[in-house]
């Protein structure tokens, strides 16, 4: 324990009989997260196999469901919040999402572009034959 911990020691290491309500709300929060996650997972698997949704719309629907489920996990299980202690966490998360988007979409765009270029070369060599 360092000095930072000392200030919080009384609330940290005692039995906390008054926290029964907190215990219940935490359990309810986890259960809500689990239920939302299960519903979104089943919705994803349904969307992937259904013919009720217009074909080209399915990937968009899947992406929306996946992002929603990731949000559920962040809030209900990783406890990311906009509270005073959460500001740094949110900033780091935003930067992480930015880098991930850059890597994934950057790779897709560049590789598709190179691929289109290669197809042109391929056609060129075929014409020369």
């Amino acid at each position: 324990m360092d000095e930072r911990d000392q200030r919080h020691a009384p609330s940290d290491d005692q039995e906390r009989p008054g926290d029964a309500a907190d215990w219940k709300s935490r359990l309810v929060k986890s259960l809500l997260g689990l239920a939302a996650s299960i519903v979104l997972t089943l919705a994803s698997f349904w969307a992937a196999g259904t013919h009720l949704v217009w074909g080209p719309g399915v990937p968009v629907l899947l992406a929306a469901l996946a992002i929603g489920q990731m949000g559920v996990h962040l809030v209900f299980f990783l406890h990311v919040s906009s509270g005073p202690e959460g500001t740094n966490t949110i900033l780091a998360l935003a930067f992480g999402v930015f880098v991930v988007a850059l890597v994934v979409f950057g790779s897709l765009v560049i590789m598709a572009n190179l691929d289109a270029g290669m197809a042109g070369m391929d056609g060129l060599t075929r014409m020369q034959r």
């Binding site: 200030r7 259960l31 196999g49 996946a66 406890h79 992480g96 994934v104």
Partner: protein, 205 residues
């Protein structure tokens, strides 16, 4: 990270008056930065898979190889293990070794069930000649899904060590910090798996 760790007297203070954050917040933030770097590692593998998923070299495609039923069960195992892991965190806060052991044991069992299903799937693919050497698509598949599986295996090993530490070292701050980091790690792996089952298994056509 949540309001419960901030004492009531400090809520109304400005940031400059509040002093350093409690240890749990700092530890959580440090581990959160590691997790984000880990997710960026996964994003590179996701990018490779997205680029190469159509390059089957006349070999089997994802639609032929993947069984959505078993993937749904694997997903269920991971989601439930995330819940039992949250129960374990709750038990740790209330210093209940019995409930902590139950939560950790269930998390361990569900994680092992997930790994077993995944390894069976890999084994069946290898037996049909669809190994990572077959095509660029399969190389990218085994790299991405295998990396997630490797993380789950390491997480299970970590959890076993933590269960032992709770009994040998007790509820000291060091052990609680490590358990909190493990919980963050385990939930973050679930987020990666959401990406895997959406892009790899449901995206295959």
């Amino acid at each position: 990270m949540n309001a419960a760790t901030t004492p009531v007297a400090e809520v109304g203070m400005s940031i400059s008056e509040r002093g350093p954050s409690p240890r749990t917040v700092i530890v959580g933030y440090g581990f959160w930065l590691f997790l984000l770097s880990d997710i960026i590692l996964f994003s590179a593998l996701f990018a490779a898979y997205a680029v190469l998923s159509g390059r089957t070299a006349d070999g089997p495609s994802g639609a032929l190889l993947f069984h959505r039923d078993s993937v749904l069960i694997e997903t269920g195992c991971l989601l439930l293990s995330s819940f039992t892991c949250a129960m374990m965190s709750l038990a740790i806060e209330f210093r209940r070794k019995d409930w902590m052991l139950l939560g950790a044991g269930l998390t361990l069992a569900l994680g092992a069930a997930f790994l077993w299903l995944e390894l069976t799937e890999f084994g069946a693919m290898l037996a049909h000649g669809a190994g990572p050497d077959r095509s660029a698509f399969l190389s990218a598949f085994f790299a991405l899904v295998g990396m997630h599986g490797l993380h789950v295996s390491l997480g299970l090993g970590w959890l076993v060590v933590m269960m032992a530490q709770v009994f040998t070292l007790g509820w000291r701050a060091m052990v609680r910090d490590r358990l909190a980091c493990f919980a963050l790690f385990w939930h973050a792996l679930d987020i990666v798996w959401i990406g895997v089952f959406t892009i790899v298994y449901l995206g295959a056509r």
